[in-house]
C-alpha cells in the first residue's frame, strides 16, 4: 500500500518538478555566462503558453504524427515509475528493470523519428537520421554501462542496484567509476546537451533533436518539450540511483519520504550545476566527431566491464 503511494508521489514529483529543474539549469547557466536569467519558473510559463495555443497540423500528417507526443509523454512517465527517486520500495520496479528502461526510451525515440519523417519536410528527415545515428551509438554504450553496474550488484533492477550500492559493506570499485564516466557521456548524448546537440539553438545545420520536432506546435509541442525536461530529470535520477543512491529510502514506510525528497532536490541541484559546468566548458562537436565521443563512452563502459572481471 505504502509502495503505491510512493509510486504516485514519485510520478507527481517527476511531472511537477521537471520544468523547475530545466529552469534551474537555465538560471545557473545564465549566472555562469554573465547574463540575466529568465527565472526558475520560465519553463512553466512556456508550457502554459504552448498549451493555450492552437495546433497547426500539416495536411498530410498521419496518426503517427498526432499520436507521438502522447506516447513520448507516457513512456517517460512509465520510466519515472521504475526509477527509484524517493524509495527503493516501488511495486512497479519488479515489472521493469534497467533494460526495459532503455527500451522505453527507445520506443519514444523511434516514434519521434517516425513523426519527424511523417510530414515529409527535409529538416524532419534530416533530424531523424541524425538522431538515429546518435542513438545507435549511445544505446549499446548505455546498456554496457548498466550491465557493468548490474554485474557488480547482481541485479538488473534499478531498485536492487540502488539498494546494494547504498548498503553497508559496499566498497567503491574501478568498474563503477568507469561506468559512471560512460553514463555521464551517454546522458549528455541522450538528452541532446552541448557537446552532442545544442538545446538552445534552432540553427538548421547544427540541430539534431529540434529538427525532428520542428513541425510540432501547440499542446503537441508542449507535451514533447515537457517530456524532454522529464527525460533530463530522469537521467539525473537514474545516475543518482545507480552511482550515488544515498538518502533514497529503503524501508517500507512513508515517514522517510520527506528526508529522501530533500536529498533528491540537493542531488539534482548539484547535478544541474555539474551539467552547466560541462556545457559551459565545451563547444558543440561536429556531427562526424560524435562517433568518437560516443565510441569513447562505449570504450569506458567496456573497460568497466573488463576491469570487473580482471581486477575484482
Amino acid at each position: 500500500m505504502n509502495g503505491s503511494i510512493v509510486e504516485i508521489l514519485q510520478i507527481v514529483i517527476l511531472i511537477g518538478l521537471a520544468p523547475a529543474f530545466a529552469g534551474w539549469i537555465k538560471v545557473v547557466k545564465c549566472r555562469m555566462q554573465g547574463r540575466t536569467s529568465p527565472g526558475l519558473f520560465r519553463p512553466y510559463r512556456d508550457l502554459a503558453k504552448l498549451f493555450s495555443k492552437d495546433i497547426v497540423l500539416a495536411e498530410n500528417a498521419s496518426w503517427i504524427f498526432r499520436f507521438t507526443p502522447y506516447l513520448v509523454f507516457g513512456t517517460v512517465i512509465i520510466a519515472g515509475a521504475v526509477v527509484p527517486m524517493l524509495s527503493t520500495n516501488l511495486p512497479l520496479s519488479l515489472t521493469a528493470d534497467a533494460i526495459v528502461l532503455v527500451g522505453l526510451f527507445g520506443i519514444a525515440r523511434f516514434f519521434t523519428a517516425l513523426a519527424g519523417m511523417d510530414i515529409g519536410t527535409a529538416f524532419g528527415g534530416m533530424g531523424s537520421s541524425r538522431e538515429m545515428m546518435v542513438a545507435s551509438l549511445a544505446e549499446p554504450a548505455m546498456l554496457m554501462a548498466i550491465f557493468t553496474v548490474s554485474l557488480l550488484c547482481g541485479s538488473t533492477s534499478l531498485s536492487g542496484i540502488a539498494g546494494t550500492v547504498s548498503g553497508a559493506g559496499f566498497i567503491a570499485k574501478p568498474s563503477l567509476a568507469f561506468a559512471f564516466f560512460a553514463f555521464v557521456l551517454i546522458a549528455l548524448a541522450e538528452n541532446g546537451r552541448i557537446p552532442v546537440d545544442n538545446p538552445a539553438t534552432h540553427l538548421e545545420l547544427t540541430m539534431l533533436h529540434e529538427a525532428m520536432i520542428l513541425e510540432y506546435s501547440g499542446r503537441h509541442l508542449a507535451l514533447i518539450e515537457w517530456a524532454g525536461m522529464m527525460k533530463l530529470f530522469l537521467f539525473m535520477a537514474i545516475g543518482s540511483a545507480l552511482f550515488f543512491p544515498f538518502g533514497i529510502d529503503a524501508a517500507d514506510n512513508i515517514s522517510g519520504i520527506p528526508q529522501a525528497f530533500v536529498f533528491l532536490v540537493v542531488k539534482l541541484g548539484a547535478a544541474g550545476v555539474v551539467l552547466v559546468l560541462i556545457e559551459t566548458g565545451l563547444a558543440k562537436m561536429r556531427l562526424f566527431r560524435l562517433t568518437e565521443f560516443l565510441g569513447s563512452a562505449f570504450l569506458m563502459a567496456t573497460l568497466g566491464m573488463l576491469s570487473f572481471f580482471i581486477l575484482e
Binding site: I171, A172, K173, P174, F178, G295, L303, L306, L311
Partner: protein, 221 residues
C-alpha cells in the same frame, strides 16, 4: 592502511593506468599525448610506492622515486622540448582510424586477461590481479607503435610499453632487483637522448618525421 584497502587502491590505480593507455591511443594532439604519458607515469609511481609500503620492500621506494623523476618529469620534458624544437604542430597521424584502434585495444585487453589467467592463479601477492592490466598496457604501447606514422608518437608508444613492463614487474613479483631497475631507468633515459638525436637527423635528412620516408633509404637509388 590494511591489505584490503591497499589492494583496493592498487586496482583503482591499475584501472587509471589502463585508462591513460587508452587515452594515449585516442589522443590526437601531441602535447596532450605527452601529458597523458606523464599521468601514466604518475599513477605508476604512486602504485609502486603503495606496493612498497604494503610489501615492506624498501628498494621499491627508490623505483617509485625514479619513476616519478624520470617518467613524470624528465622524459615528458625532453619530449616537449623535442616537439618544440622540431616544430611539430600537426595532429597525430595514424595508419588505422582511431575507433578501430580502440576496438583492437579492447581485444588486446581481453587477450592479455586470458593469457595471464594461469599466472594469476599461481600468484599469492595482493597485486596479482593487475598483471593482466600490465600486459595489456604493454600490448597497447606496441599497438601504438605499429599504428602511428610519426617517429615521436612511436617513441611515446615505446615508453608506454616500458611503463607496462615496469608495472608488470611490480605486480607479478613486487619489482625487479634494484640493480636491474636502475639499469633499465638509465637505459630509458639514454634511449630518450638517442631518440632525440635521431629525430634531428631524420628531420634534417627528410624534412619530416614520417617514418615511411625511410623506405627511400636504399643504395643505388
Amino acid at each position: 592502511m590494511d591489505l584490503q584497502t591497499a589492494a583496493q587502491i592498487n586496482s583503482f590505480l591499475a584501472a587509471f593506468v589502463l585508462l591513460t593507455a587508452f587515452g594515449m591511443l585516442a589522443q590526437k594532439r601531441i602535447y596532450s599525448l605527452i601529458h597523458l604519458f606523464a599521468w601514466q607515469g604518475f599513477f605508476l609511481s604512486i602504485n609502486t610506492a603503495i606496493v612498497a609500503y604494503v610489501a615492506g620492500k624498501h628498494h621499491l621506494y627508490i623505483s617509485s622515486v625514479l619513476t616519478l623523476s624520470l617518467k613524470v618529469i624528465a622524459l615528458p620534458y625532453i619530449l616537449h622540448i623535442l616537439v618544440v624544437k622540431l616544430k611539430i604542430r600537426k595532429e597525430v597521424e595514424t595508419m588505422v582510424n582511431i575507433p578501430t584502434t580502440m576496438l583492437i585495444g579492447i581485444a588486446l585487453v581481453i587477450f592479455s586477461y586470458y593469457l595471464t589467467a594461469p599466472v594469476t592463479e599461481l600468484s599469492r601477492l595482493i597485486t596479482r590481479s593487475t598483471i593482466a592490466v600490465a600486459l595489456a598496457t604493454v600490448m597497447i604501447g606496441l599497438l601504438m607503435m605499429i599504428t602511428r606514422k610519426k617517429a615521436v608518437t612511436q617513441i611515446i608508444g615505446f615508453l608506454a610499453m616500458e611503463n607496462g613492463l615496469f608495472f608488470a614487474a611490480t605486480s607479478a613479483t613486487y619489482g625487479m632487483p634494484l640493480v636491474v631497475e636502475l639499469g633499465v631507468a638509465l637505459d630509458v633515459l639514454i634511449a630518450a637522448f638517442i631518440f632525440g638525436i635521431f629525430f634531428f637527423h631524420i628531420h634534417t635528412t627528410f624534412d619530416s618525421l614520417d617514418v615511411e620516408q625511410m623506405t627511400r633509404l636504399k643504395e643505388g637509388d
